[in-house]
């Protein structure tokens, strides 16, 4: 569970703090570990990729203009602390909601739907609703875009 925490907090950090200029190295992929990489070609093309377990990959891409990027320091430390404890609260509430967890070795672990709800909820609080695109690359290499319904649940739409 800590690994998935790392992912979602790193996503939040990416949006809060900006990006690093590490290069992707496809040879680094390791199904047993989550490897986070940040990359920016320009401020209009910022994205973050994730190599997740079970050959699932996520890419978060900023979909707005450069003017829409929050500048460093846009959020107060108190705001960030409140969002973080809100994330933990939502995390735990999703773990007692049947549709949002899986049992792995007898332990409840949030599934993709649960994780996606946390991400979209945090983005909305940060004022980034509809400014960030979430792409999911499935095990069979098919690509889907994850979008939020009006009821805030998420659906996966296969890319053509």
């Amino acid at each position: 569970m800590m690994k998935t925490y790392l992912f979602w907090f790193a996503m939040l950090a990416f949006l809060l703090l900006g990006c690093r200029n590490d290069n992707f190295n496809p040879n680094e992929t390791n199904n047993s570990q989550q490897a986070l990489k940040f990359r920016v070609f320009s401020k209009n093309n910022a994205f973050m990729g994730l190599v997740a377990p079970n050959n699932v990959h996520y890419v978060v891409r900023f979909g707005d203009t450069q003017a829409g990027l929050p500048i460093t320091g846009s959020y107060s430390q108190t705001q960030i602390e409140i969002w973080k404890i809100d994330q933990t609260t939502l995390w735990q509430q999703l773990l007692i909601s049947d549709n949002y967890y899986s049992l792995i070795s007898g332990k409840k672990v949030l599934n993709a739907k649960g994780l996606e709800r946390i991400l979209f909820d945090t983005l909305e609080k940060m004022g980034l609703k509809n400014k960030v695109n979430l792409l999911k690359i499935n095990e069979n290499n098919s690509v889907s875009i994850i979008v939020q319904n009006s009821d805030k649940s998420t659906i996966s739409i296969p890319c053509p």
Partner: protein, 192 residues
């Protein structure tokens, strides 16, 4: 008089419709706004009080209170719930207080530093009470805590800190980022 009666009737109807009450074990996700998650079975009560444990040469004191009908937000909706609030103090081996939240208050929208608040029950299937911890400076140490009653005088403490990312602008390097709460599972706390 007629108008007052009519107004009272409308208010009563709206009130009935606006709030539904559910047990604490019910997830608030996708539930109607303004629902109240109530501790019907007093499952939180055994944890109320002052508790102590020693860990790695430190003395940890927990002061746990129960608050009724606290407002919280989830996925953009507001709800009410009964919650436990944990305030704590950590002393080193010489008795010096090295971290404390015993006198902290947590007004809405204010700092949540050191806040430990119950969020649900039985996530792990052990009838444990689950808490969210906001962490110390810059949220370091924030994560999950669970308490599991052993007897009327003891419970187990398990703490799972998460990962925190810092930036030097709001989190200068000279702050204390040490985690003083016991990072362990099944630490026995005893009622004082």
């Amino acid at each position: 008089m007629k108008n007052i009666l009519l107004l009272s009737f409308i208010v009563a109807i709206v009130s009935c419709k606006a709030q539904q009450t559910y047990p604490l074990r019910q997830s608030a996700v996708d539930m109607p706004e303004n629902s109240y998650f109530k501790d019907f079975n007093n499952e939180l009560d055994p944890y109320i009080g002052t508790w102590q444990a020693s860990f790695n040469g430190k003395l940890i004191t927990l002061n746990i209170t129960k608050e009724l009908e606290r407002t919280f937000s989830l996925l953009g909706k507001y709800y009410l719930t009964d919650q436990l609030i944990v305030r704590y103090e950590v002393r080193d081996s010489s008795g010096t207080v090295i971290q404390t939240s015993l006198s902290n208050t947590y007004p809405a929208g204010g700092s949540v530093k050191y806040l430990i608040i119950s969020t649900s029950i039985n996530i792990r299937g052990n009838n444990e009470v689950n808490f969210a911890y906001a962490g110390g400076n810059c949220g370091v140490g924030g994560g999950e805590i669970s308490l599991k009653q052993i007897s009327s005088m003891q419970f187990y403490w398990s703490y799972y800190p998460g990962v925190t990312t810092l930036n030097d602008i709001t989190c200068p390097p000279n702050l204390d980022y040490h985690i003083y709460l016991p990072e362990t599972e099944n630490l026995v706390f005893t009622k004082q």
